[in-house]
Amino acid sequence: MGIIETEGLTKIYVRDVIDTEFGRLRIRLTNRKTVALQDLSLDVQQGEIFGLLGPNGAGKTTAIKILMGIHFPTSGSARLMGKPLGDREVKKRIGFLPENPYFYDYLKGWEFLDFYGQLYGMDKKTRRRKIERLLDQVGLTHAADRPLRGYSKGMNQRIGLAQALMNDPEIVFLDEPQSGLDPLGRKEVRDIIVSLRDEGKTVFFSSHILSDAEMICDRVAILYRGKLQSLGTLGSLLSQSVRDWEIVLRGVSDEFMDRWRPRLVRLEKSDGDFWVIAKEEATTHELIREATAAGGVLIQLLPRRESLEDYFIRQVQGSPEPRGAAA
């Protein structure tokens, strides 16, 4: 049994003035409908880093909002730690960082975390200890006494992450944790996510930055236009066969390379080195053999496999036209 399970989760948004439900009685003043999420069934195991991937508007945020009890599903159901959504005991054991978080900007960094600690019912001593540790972990100790108003986007994201870890959660939900961050910031978030897994926590995060996901995810689900396109380990999704070969040669003549040009996918010269892409393994071997025989040196040989991005584009290109799916 998974620690996060969803079963046929569907969300149809209706833009409306009033939208509220009392059991079977539903009061709605409505106009337009959008299918944001369609029949999503997932099963996330304890202790894994699970990536919910897809372009903007694929339904990633909607899925997380439903799991967090911010939205109610139109149909389908979901369970966290075996309990139905909204369970108080479960909420004590999860952490959540929303997308583009905007927090109470009149609070100071410290006050902000203290407030969330109070919501978890922590006593003063525990809060103080926890806050000190978290500020250190996300690198914000120096900004603890500054109002959030003066925080940069990256600092906001980090204080948001600290907020999500306040209760030492077993599952951490992160919605686009790396959006808006510079490469260094993204690496820091990546490191934190990996360290969370090392502590035995389950991390469920959404992202459209595939290279980041590729580096850390144990399993991924790819969403597109509200539908689950594929689900599995990166190894099982990405073709393991070598797509092509990247070769760098030095000390061979231009004439020699010109003779080879028709058999290569790409051939470029920079600083006296030749950068070559060859499709066939046999071609690659032959080229290297002849080049070394002609006095050349092999600088680099790299078999290139399919990246998540290649896979993603392959998946998405086969999908039907959009219906104006929402975020």
Partner: protein
């Protein structure tokens, strides 16, 4: 309870950092302080006018604070999406809404307390000035008396019963605040402001609405008698009666106030307070009912 307190205190922090609050408060304090000057225009009891003006200021500006600060409190949480992190924490939506309510109520009451202090000082100063005291000494004495009066309600003759009236006013504001939270739990700030003010006005005119219904019924009865036809109660009657029963009877609170000012007795207030508590609880239940099943943007 801890969670509600945390949210309430956070709401209070947010509210007291709102500039609108200070604009309203400054206007209120100016009106209270100038009531002494205005009272010189009256031909009747000057003290009565000062008291009337002071109460009116406390009441109206209290409502203004509840409305202008209150209607955006819940909305802002939704608009800025701060609610997302709150909802994912182990607290119920009802606790969130109650926290917001009590935080707003605390803000309103703290402001009422400040206005009351200025009001008491104003009354004591004017009493002192009428007895021909010097400016500086009267001012100092009235500040001292005002502060003391906040604790010892019946310490001074001119301000006898006034604190009861403040308590009644606080209860009335608790109802208005509950409405501000109710409306803001499902509509935009502008609409909530409109609805809340409308409810306050209708609530104050409650007894007039009932009187209007009676007049309508009276006329219908006369017409029925003249035409020798059976009496059918007209739509206007049912509408007015319905409206009068839905909106809070804030007129009752106003009656407590006039009783204290003009008749110098306070018999109505315990019943009025009980009514206020029950009515507020009802409105908050309704707000929670709507809010707990609401889809956030």
């Amino acid at each position: 309870m801890k969670e509600i307190t945390a949210i309430a205190l956070n709401t209070f922090k947010e509210a007291i950092r709102n500039r609108i609050l200070y604009v309203i408060l400054i206007f209120a304090l100016l009106l209270i302080l100038f009531s002494g000057v205005l009272s010189q225009l009256t031909i009747s009891d000057r003290l009565q006018l000062i008291k009337s003006l002071g109460f009116a200021a406390i009441n109206l500006f209290g409502v203004a604070i509840a409305v202008f600060v209150g209607v955006s409190l819940v909305y802002n949480e939704l608009e800025k999406k701060t609610i997302y992190t709150i909802v994912s924490k182990p607290i119920g939506r009802w606790q969130f809404l109650l926290g917001k309510y009590f935080g707003l109520l605390l803000t309103v009451w703290v402001n009422v307390l400040i206005m009351t202090l200025f009001f008491l000082i104003s009354v004591h100063y004017n009493v002192g000035a009428m007895q021909g005291g010097g400016l500086a000494s009267t001012l100092l004495a009235s500040i001292g008396r005002g502060l003391l009066n906040l604790v010892a309600w019946n310490a001074f003759e001119p301000t006898q019963n006034l604190m009861f009236v403040i308590v009644v006013t606080c209860m009335e504001l608790a109802i208005v605040t509950a409405f501000a939270i109710l409306f803001s739990s499902f509509s935009t700030p502008t609409l909530s402001m409109f609805f809340t003010v409308l409810t306050f006005v209708a609530g104050r005119l409650n007894e007039h609405i009932i009187r209007f219904a009676d007049t309508v019924l009276e006329r219908a009865r006369d017409e029925a008698l003249a035409a020798a036809a059976p009496l059918t109660k007209p739509f206007a009657y049912w509408f007015a009666i319905g409206a009068a029963h839905v909106v809070p009877n804030l007129g009752a609170f106003h009656r407590s106030v006039t009783q204290a000012i003009y008749q110098n007795e306070v018999t109505l207030w315990p019943g009025t307070i009980l009514y206020g508590v029950l009515y507020t609880a009802g409105i908050l239940c309704l707000a929670i009912l709507i809010f707990s099943r609401r889809n956030f943007k």
